[in-house]
Amino acid sequence: MSASARVDTIQMDDVSVRFADTDVLRNVCCSLPARTTAVIGENGSGKSTFARLIGGLARADSGTVRVLGLDPARETAALRRRVAVVFSNPDAQIVMPTVAEDVAFSLRSEKLPRAEKTRRTQAALERFGLTALADRPTHDLSGGQKQLLALCGAFVREPDLVIADEPTAFLDARNARLIADRLLKNGSHRVLLVTHDLDLAQRCDQAVLISQGTITAVGAPGGIVKAYQELLVC
């Protein structure tokens, strides 16, 4: 086992985040060692902020955050190399005019030989079934294809951790399943999945329930989903 695999994927100790006068996350403590973790909770409960914090896109006002042994606030460059983030709206993630160029764009900041970048791009396109669409204009793709492209753009960097914030929110059942399959497929990467899709949450190794800015339960997805459903009924 490598040194990086020995540390828990995500560790938080007494973490709080405030926006204006509102506590978005309050005194969050957790240690998440599982390969795939689902984060569930109501709208506005702090799930996305939790994910953004781990992805280095938000800062904690207090407490400590460690992601793959790194401090996202101080070791941002190292974190970017090892952590990829996928959002719910693929339109906001696509930058280049064609599918292949957009996937290759993720490798622009990597110091790799051109041949290696080409190899990785082609391999990622093939893995996500996008080879036939490589030269297609990105704005002509369907919602499902765009999200697949966003995922492909994240995976081409061969991250150790993929954070997906409601990646299936705008998709139909078939495309949602396709995206979930690609995301949770066995591999060396770990996944943190923020979702309202409780069936999808059940497919993860571990689940976290966030309510009103605090983690109220962590454990096997079956129990956590049940606890969340009970919370919704109350």
Binding site: R52, G56, R80, F87, A92, Q93, M96, E101, D135
Partner: protein, 198 residues
């Protein structure tokens, strides 16, 4: 980004972006310096046609490019006709139209990645005065990317207004459109950051 690039294997397509841009700049400059006469107008039109035929882009592509700038041509021609007379109006409008469509040859025959690389290289001399060439090049690419996205957002706002039975009003259009555009810009910033863009 708007997909203007037309893939091809002609010599023109294979020419690196830097020399291609220099060559197009020289041709555009020559067109701009043509005399403001009927002959000048005919020469500008002939150069534009040759520029599309020689690299194999074809006259239909030339037609598409002219159609894309039709309103600009119309406004230019009208103003010139009113104030300068027919010969100068035709000559100036033809020169401007020719310069625009010849300039479009760069994006038609160069992939966005090659353009981005060329821009980064071209901006290198400006590094001494603190210009971040990677950021400037990316800004230009992202600006192009935003055009179809903003058009879609504008369409959504208009449809939402219509669905609620409202009149199309600039006031009621501008506020939600601005909010959506800013929200999108925020998300794009996060996505770029997440993809390793510093």
């Amino acid at each position: 980004m708007l997909s203007l690039y037309r893939p091809g294997h002609s010599l023109w397509h294979r020419l690196p972006a830097g020399p291609k841009t220099t060559l197009v700049t020289l041709i555009v400059l020559s067109v701009c310096l043509l005399p403001v006469t009927w002959t000048g107008a005919a020469t500008a039109a002939a150069i534009a046609v040759a520029c599309y035929l020689i690299p194999g882009m074809g006259l239909s592509e030339l037609g598409r490019q002219l159609f894309a700038v039709r309103w600009l041509i119309a406004v230019t021609a009208l103003g010139q006709f009113l104030f300068l007379g027919p010969e100068r109006a035709v000559a100036n409008t033809t020169r401007i139209s020719a310069a625009l469509v010849i300039g479009a040859l760069i994006v038609l025959s160069t992939s966005a990645t090659a353009l981005l690389n060329a821009l980064e290289r071209g901006l290198k001399p400006l590094q001494w005065c603190g210009v971040d060439r990677q950021r400037v090049a990316l800004l230009l690419v992202v600006t192009f990317t935003m055009v179809p996205v903003l058009a879609r957002l504008a369409g959504e706002v208009r449809q939402a207004q219509q669905a609620r039975g409202g009149r199309v009003s600039l006031r009621y259009f501008a506020t939600p459109f601005l909010i959506l555009a800013l929200k999108h810009a925020d998300s794009l910033g996060d996505a770029l950051s997440a993809r390793g863009v510093r």
